[in-house]
Amino acid sequence: MNKKIVSAVLCGAMILGSAVPAMAGTADGKKIALVGKSAGNAFFEIAAASFVETAEAEGATVDTVYPEAATADAQIKVLDNLISQDYDAICISANDVNALQAKLQEAMDEGIKISCFDSATNPDSRQIFINQAGTVAVGQALLDAVLDIAGGEGQFAILSATSQAANQNAWIDAMKNIMESDDTYANLELVEVAYGDDEPQKSTDQTAALLEKYPDLKVICAPTTVGIAAAAKYLQDNGSACKLTGLGLPSEMLEYTGADDEHSCPYFYLWDMQGLGKLSALTTIALVNEDITGALDETFTAGDLGDYTITEADDGGTEVVLGAPLQFNPDNIEEMAKLY
């Protein structure tokens, strides 16, 4: 039964997917450069592949370029090259918030449209940022998961990446703010934010320490892929009563996700990297076609993803937000694990 429904939905999606490019081709002959942070990030490549597929279906050609190293300097070199090659648009995942400003402004002066995704530059260096999931939306989803898994009350802890990780800190702050302002979460107690530095070894030590320090701990929330996997392994191997949620990769979490006591993680979240790639491609094309300029409150239609409105980003610039993060649970994890 279930399989039938899934395949029906998939077929529907395929028909829609193939119908859009057939009708459109809104970007015929346009040249877009997609600049990554560095080569060798499988996660990023899911978004990149989806970006390329979407843009090519619209008739554009896309060159995916990676800098030699994951630094702003290396990206500046890449940008230098690109600016001299008449691209219509550059979509970049930035290695540094401010360092690329001069180069990107030079590109914009040349008439090249600049969009950012995955990791934003400052507002002056871009026309728009395509945000995978709003900070508050992530915080809200995680906190709701904690509340649900804890059964409405009790102690929980956060296992983060490094203490300086900007993304993680923003989500954690969002969680704290929501807890303070909303009585729904009054019975939850955040006992500690621990840092596993995105190393399995250190994350394991931190998880063990959390359990030893807080015997009544009900939930650990790990908003980082390495941390959640290490914690899941530790909790599951030890048959701990403490449960886990957070942000993780489905393929890495497949073994630990389940609703029963055998599994340490009932469900967790991540954004939809394929959706992000697609929305980024369509937004960039909208910029190139001058359907939008990247100004506040403009609206556009991103194919079958629906209508999007440009909103104000946390940094004062503008952004489109893909949507709430995707939930991975026992029902969809097997399918999703094949992708991520």
């Binding site: 060798g40 840092y195 250190k202 320490a209 996997a229």
Partner: protein, 331 residues
């Protein structure tokens, strides 16, 4: 003969001091967090530090001949990633075979490092820096640009780390086995003694008929072998293979040796020292998150300070020991 036994006592007491430091750490931590001194917590600690502990033995050999190897964690990533991908894509399924392949790749990596250092006379830090980049990049290539081989893909292989024998994880038995073998090897075999000889005085060793080049080749190959073992253990313990695993971890291995009294200039260091050094490091890593008074941000700072204090105490003690030994000679 008398002098020698005097020296022996002193080096013995250096390790005794390390043991005292370790016991002190244990006492302090147990006061702060009583659950630390339980069988489960201690075996957890050993398991979580197995990679560093096992690889410290290789680093001991390398440092004894006056070398250093900073490519080891890249070798670990390459071997771990290789077996991870082989298991993921169902090319192999046997745990034993996975270990054999990991060891073989490790040996090959180490042998190559050893060749460059012993035959081309490239300074170890430079040669291994080169291999650090090469092997790490190869790890990424093997992983198809950064794929993970995760728990579900590793099949039975990951059960190695959760299987218990006489109440302890097989990983811990591997540690015990390695230390036992190296204890005998370094102390009672000709080859082991030759490593010491080359380290304390290469020209004297050369004159007395030891092939210094081959000994150097040997120690880097041993290091590679243990890095390969480390790769297999890492993948099994954490049930995932990532191309960036243990990046920077070589410093922990070197620190374990240095804390354990292994000299950076060669010739000095024992298996017991490496054991105590890596145990002290493991205890610090396990204990710091348990300490409630510190902001977590301070953890690395505290770790650094503790390492420095232990090493300084060690050096001061070494100096007095040297002085005393000389005094003995004057008399």
């Amino acid at each position: 003969m008398e002098k020698k036994s005097f020296m022996k006592k002193l080096t013995g007491s250096r390790e005794a001091l390390l043991a005292v430091i370790l016991v002190l750490l244990f006492v302090v931590i147990t006061i702060i967090s009583p659950s630390f001194l339980t069988f489960k917590s201690l075996t957890d600690m050993l398991k979580n530090n197995a990679v560093t502990m096992v690889m410290s033995l290789g680093m001991l050999c390398v440092m004894l001949v006056g070398g250093i190897d900073i490519s080891i964690m890249s070798t670990l990533a390459l071997t771990g990633m290789s077996i991870g991908m082989l298991l993921k894509y169902d090319h192999i399924s046997s745990t034993f075979l996975a270990f054999v392949i990991a060891l073989a790749i490790g040996i090959a990596c180490g042998f190559l490092v050893g060749l460059v250092i012993s035959r081309a006379d490239v300074p170890p830090i430079i040669a291994t820096m080169g291999f650090m980049y090469i092997y790490r990049a190869m790890g990424y290539l093997v992983s198809h640009n950064g794929e993970w081989a995760s728990a579900a893909a590793l099949g039975k292989f990951k059960d190695f780390a959760t299987t218990k024998f006489l109440g302890m994880s097989l990983v811990i038995w591997v540690i015990i086995f390695c230390y036992a073998v190296f204890f005998v090897f370094m102390k009672w075999t000709t080859l082991g003694r030759r490593i010491y000889a080359v380290g304390s005085n290469p020209s004297a060793a050369e004159v007395s008929g030891i092939n210094v080049k081959n000994i150097k080749l040997l120690v880097y190959t041993i290091m590679g072998l243990l890095a390969g073992l480390g790769g297999a253990l890492q993948v099994s313990i954490y049930a995932s293979a990532m191309p960036d695993m243990q990046q920077g971890g070589e410093m922990d291995v070197i620190a374990a040796c240095v804390i354990g009294g292994v000299s950076m200039s060669g010739g000095r260091g024992t298996v017991l020292g490496a054991l105590l050094g890596s145990l002290i490091l493991a205890t610090i890593a396990k204990a710091l998150p348990l300490i409630p008074f510190f902001d977590q941000l301070w953890l690395n700072t505290i770790k650094g300070v503790i390492i420095l204090v232990v090493v300084v105490v060690n050096i001061v003690l070494q100096r007095t020991a040297d002085k005393n030994a000389l005094k003995g000679r004057e008399m």
